[in-house]
Symmetry: C2
Subunit: 659 residues, 2 copies
């Protein structure tokens, strides 16, 4: 048989050859470094038979995919260690059963059905056993069984999980197993791929946590215990990841949201319905102010629509019945069902339709800060990240096909402007296209329009020089979309902005405009929400800035600390001047010591703490401590105010020191 | 018997004397001018017997109350004319039956049960007949019947309406009748008072309209036909009133709301749920901007709360069950009932309660632009004046008793500042107090606190030098309130602002703060909404300004009209400069003639129309036509922009001409 190597050379090998044979044929050095391979571009392992005329490339630890093989094998090593752990506790080996154990971002997990609840301290022991298994350098072996043999194996040990997995496999799929350390070691039903020997796994891994997980995600089936682990190729990467997690804990928006008085959740109001405290309301309103300014310059028009509507509107938009389970249930009024809105679009379509439109009116860009309500299961709610009330900087752009490219790009560019304001320099744009199989199901059934609009988006991005990756089968119901994944200052990923093409719904709403040839034509609609929901955006910003907001966003920009009661009058007049200048300033008149007051202001992460004593009163000046520039004394009040005003207005992230 | 006259003199009269006898005794001139009287301060007529030792004052047409007597008699004259009208048509006199016919603001009405539907053209004939009855100078006579005699009279003619009215009269009440023109004329069961002769009614009246009205306002009872009339003492007053009605029709917010593209109602969204078009959204956001600015200066803090909540919150607040019929029906989610909010207060209380409060934190002032939803019957919805979705500039102030007066007055003063901005110079403040009978029913059952808080409000208003009138039995459930009635530029009355004391609900929410003596104390709460709902406020402003908004409010501030296509480029750069300067400018690039474009801009009531031709392009200048200052040519662009910016920023009502 023949294989093609990455350099284009062809290699002649005996029948049933594996990538291991390929590596051996190339040379012993490569054979030693080999961890896996790609066969026709797909990640595979050294033990897999190569089909005729395949392109084969050997994977070593220099390849980014290598870590996936290691993580997968680590899941098996963990499973073996868990069995050993319970056997050591005196249990039967057959009392330990397993669900699935896949590779995930940064690591792996495995779901176990074991004789008792696992505790965090168990993880240390399991991890220690894993390191022994790695040290033992157990070789892995891959083999295939017939369906009846495979079923027989698990029937013999009465394992319902693996039996169900096998039964669900398509009839024509090979049923493969991976064995490590021989029959005495560990064998698992598995598609692979794996490294060929446990000794090839680097020691830079850590078991992180235990969580409950329903078998196959179904809450009516047994709950298994899932152990999560992380693993990296280098110690540095592992440490960086652990630091990020540690930092993420410190920056947790739920923790800081409480400490900084940003929002509160109230059981009596309801889950997922945050109440925004004054400091949180400042954040939202500053975001809105920013968006208004940007949208005004980009010739958006603002509209306002109610939070509820008759059922008919959502039937027309297609939200009902398809989206009903994500909506709040109906209210029955005068025999008609009303729903709170899960999205703003149908209302904007109605405004578009409220009078005749001409090609001269296009593009029309309607922006709204609509609050939408969606039903998320109680168990899935999470701080500000998963909520039921969603404040949105939403907009819909109605345009002709000729205008599309420019409009779409303008939206993308607006995203980039936002990212610059927030100092987000790490982001990925993802173009989600339709999947052919979903046409008429997940996707509007019009392949021609799908291909056409996808091409339009691709061209817009390419012509605009905006890098993007493409993902099939993740589009919206009504058209392709660009999602933006951004990374916070500590490298955690958030999906925020979305920019979607809609070639379907305008027709359902019978939207039209009269074109140059006096014919009615249906506009395209672009749905966009660059700041995601305010809830999620603020959750992100809290983490991104660790609550240390730039001056323009800071809920309290200046805290004035009078040293003694005799300085309160001056402090108060200073506050009045700051307020009049459009700045947010508070004054701490408590009878506490100055240092205690300064510490309290620091807990609130107030950018400027102004200390007022005899000297300042006498000179009519301020002395400040700042989180964003060097401390300074004896600054004239007017200069101080102007300095702050300018930098708040510029929305700059760092403030150049006052000269 | 004795009576006391206004000058303090006492007059000796025979028993059973009437005010007519008093007037005669004073002199024949007064007797001739006399229209009625007040007896012990209460409006009465000349035919009523005076009790012993009463204070009597004769009413002539110089007294403001005189018109009430005339209007009441006019209702009787109209009833007589309606009978004559149907008799002339060949009907039996007994086929015309009547409900009630009271005096109302500006006029009177009477409800009729007549053989056929009345048409507008009938009104002319009825009015002509009324003028004949007046000319006939029919004397009025008042007399009393026993209950059985009175019932017998109406049983004889089988009149269910008057029979029901008599049966509902208290047993000890005298049953009086007024007869005009003797037995051949017209007699009615009536409490009076009336003028003594139809000839004393001035001719300055007009029958206005016919409307259906359920007997006693009950939709399950027969519908009568109501005729409305207006009447004044002078021709000038009548004309002014008719002008106001005519003007109100022209300024009708529903008509202008459509013509100026301010809002739209959509059957598919639902009744009473306006969609705000871009021009309307500008109005709302400018109002919000104004409010934010004023509230920032007054140290309010802004909060944001969801539009819905679990049932429990509204049970605690007392909205459920007492207010349930004004709320949207519940949504049933995970076995819990959720309601959209009819008011913001419970949410603000929750924010207050979200952490411990000290006397040092008070007053706390939470402001929110919350949209509330209330159920109004479909038949009662009216444009923007009666809606189901209400955007509100709402706030709640939590303070101690000592702080109350200052806080309450500050709110009143803020109202006055708003009125100045909008040029509202005609308004009345009304203090609504509790009614003793409603304690424990309409009102929280704590008379001591009612009297105390009413006195606090009274003192605040008096000490602040704010004039007010007092109305008993119109308070809110939880405390006294000040309502403000304002008058539009054409003199129509609107009830907008409200400022309410709440001494009850903070306790239900267990709100408390730690006072100076380290004891928990319940704060008072002031509910205030100076701009009413945005819907009603904008409805008012449309009428008040006839859609001709001051520059700062105008949805489109500048319309640029290029004379020919070659001027578009310049026009466009001009627009960019205006937009960059924060102004709202559009450009009309259609191929229409200049005059057509100018006319269209005028229909939209755009304050500045800038015409751009060769001269302007060459000189880099603008020529404008303005609705608010003299037209001007050859104005340098920078000067024009600065002029507009300054006046928009100042929110001035009139713009001084550009020098």
């Amino acid at each position: 048989m023949n294989v093609t190597l990455p350099d284009g050379k062809r290699l002649e090998l005996p029948a049933h050859a594996t990538p291991n044979d390929v590596a051996q044929a190339i040379g012993p050095g490569l054979a030693k470094a080999a961890l896996g391979a790609t066969i026709n571009g797909e990640l595979s392992d050294l033990m897999t038979e190569i089909p005729e005329n395949a392109a084969v490339s050997i994977v070593t630890k220099r390849d980014t995919d290598a870590i996936k093989l290691m993580r997968h094998t680590l899941a098996h090593v963990m499973a073996q260690a868990v069995i050993d752990f319970f056997v050591a506790e005196g249990h039967e080996r057959s009392e330990v059963r397993m669900g699935v154990g896949p590779v995930i971002e940064n690591g792996f997990y495995y779901d176990f059905d074991v004789p008792r609840s696992l505790h965090p301290e168990d993880l240390e022991k399991i991890e220690a056993r894993m390191r022994e298994i790695i040290k033992a350098k157990l070789p892995l072996r891959k083999y295939e069984l017939s369906r009846s043999e495979a079923l027989e194996r698990y029937r013999a040990i009465n394992d319902p999980y693996k039996l169900e997995l096998i039964e669900d496999l398509p009839a024509d799929e090979a049923i493969t197993f991976y064995e490590q350390g021989g029959a005495e070691g560990f064998t698992d039903l598995c598609r692979g791929p794996h490294v060929p020997n446990t000794g090839l796994i680097p020691p830079h891994f850590k078991l992180m946590s235990i969580a409950g997980a329903y078998w196959r995600g179904d809450e009516n089936r047994p709950m298994l215990q899932r152990i999560y682990g992380v693993a990296f190729l280098s110690k540095e990467e592992l440490n960086k990841h652990l630091w990020m997690l540690e930092e993420a804990k410190k920056r947790d928006h739920r923790k800081l949201g409480k400490e900084l008085d940003i929002y509160t959740l109230d059981e009596e109001v309801g889950p997922g319905l945050p109440l925004w405290l004054p400091r949180g309301a400042v954040l939202i309103e500053e975001l809105e102010e920013l968006a208004k300014e940007m949208e005004r310059k980009a010739s958006y028009e603002r509209v306002r629509t109610p939070h509820l509507s008759k059922e008919g509107l959502f039937l027309k938009s297609g939200h009902l019945p398809y989206y009903a389970e994500s909506m709040y249930p109906p209210m029955d009024l005068e025999g008609i069902r009303y729903y709170v809105k899960p999205m703003n679009c149908p209302f904007h379509h109605k405004i578009f339709a409220s009078r005749p439109r001409s090609y001269r009116d296009l593009p029309i860009r309607y922006a709204e800060y609509g609050t939408c309500y969606r039903y998320e299961k109680s168990g899935e709610l999470f701080g500000l990240m998963r909520v039921r009330s969603m404040q949105m900087n939403d907009a819909h752009i109605y345009c002709s096909e000729e205008q599309f490219e420019q409009e779409f790009l303008a939206v993308i560019e607006m995203y980039q402007q936002y990212f610059e304001v927030f100092g987000i320099d790490n982001y990925v744009m993802r173009l989600s296209t339709h999947g052919k199989d979903g046409l008429g199901k997940k996707y509007v059934d019009n392949e021609r329009l799908w291909l056409k609009t996808e091409e339009m988006v691709r061209n817009a991005m390419t012509n605009g020089g905006v890098p993007f990756v493409e993902v099939a089968d993740e589009a919206a119901f009504y058209g392709p979309k660009i999602d933006v994944q951004i990374y916070s200052a500590i490298g955690r990923e958030f999906t925020l902005a979305t920019n979607q093409v809609d070639f379907a719904v305008p027709e359902r709403f019978e939207l039209s405009y009269i074109n140059e040839h006096n014919e009615a034509e249906t506009p395209l609609c672009i749905h966009r929400a660059p700041l995601s929901t305010h809830e999620r955006m603020i959750g992100f910003l809290i983490e991104h800035f660790a609550g240390d907001f730039p001056l323009w966003l800071a809920p309290e920009q200046v805290r004035i600390v009078p040293i003694a009661d005799r300085h309160i009058e001056y402090a108060d007049s200073l506050r009045q001047q700051l307020i009049a200048a459009g700045l947010r300033a508070e004054i701490d008149t408590r009878g506490e010591r100055m240092n205690a007051k300064v510490r309290d202001a620091e807990l609130y992460k107030v950018p400027y703490i102004v200390i007022v004593g005899d000297k300042e009163v006498e000179a009519g000046s301020v002395s400040f401590r700042s989180r964003q520039e060097p401390d300074k004394n004896a600054v004239p009040v007017a200069a101080f105010i102007k300095h702050l005003q300018e930098h708040a207005k510029a929305r700059s992230l760092k403030i150049p020191a006052l000269i």
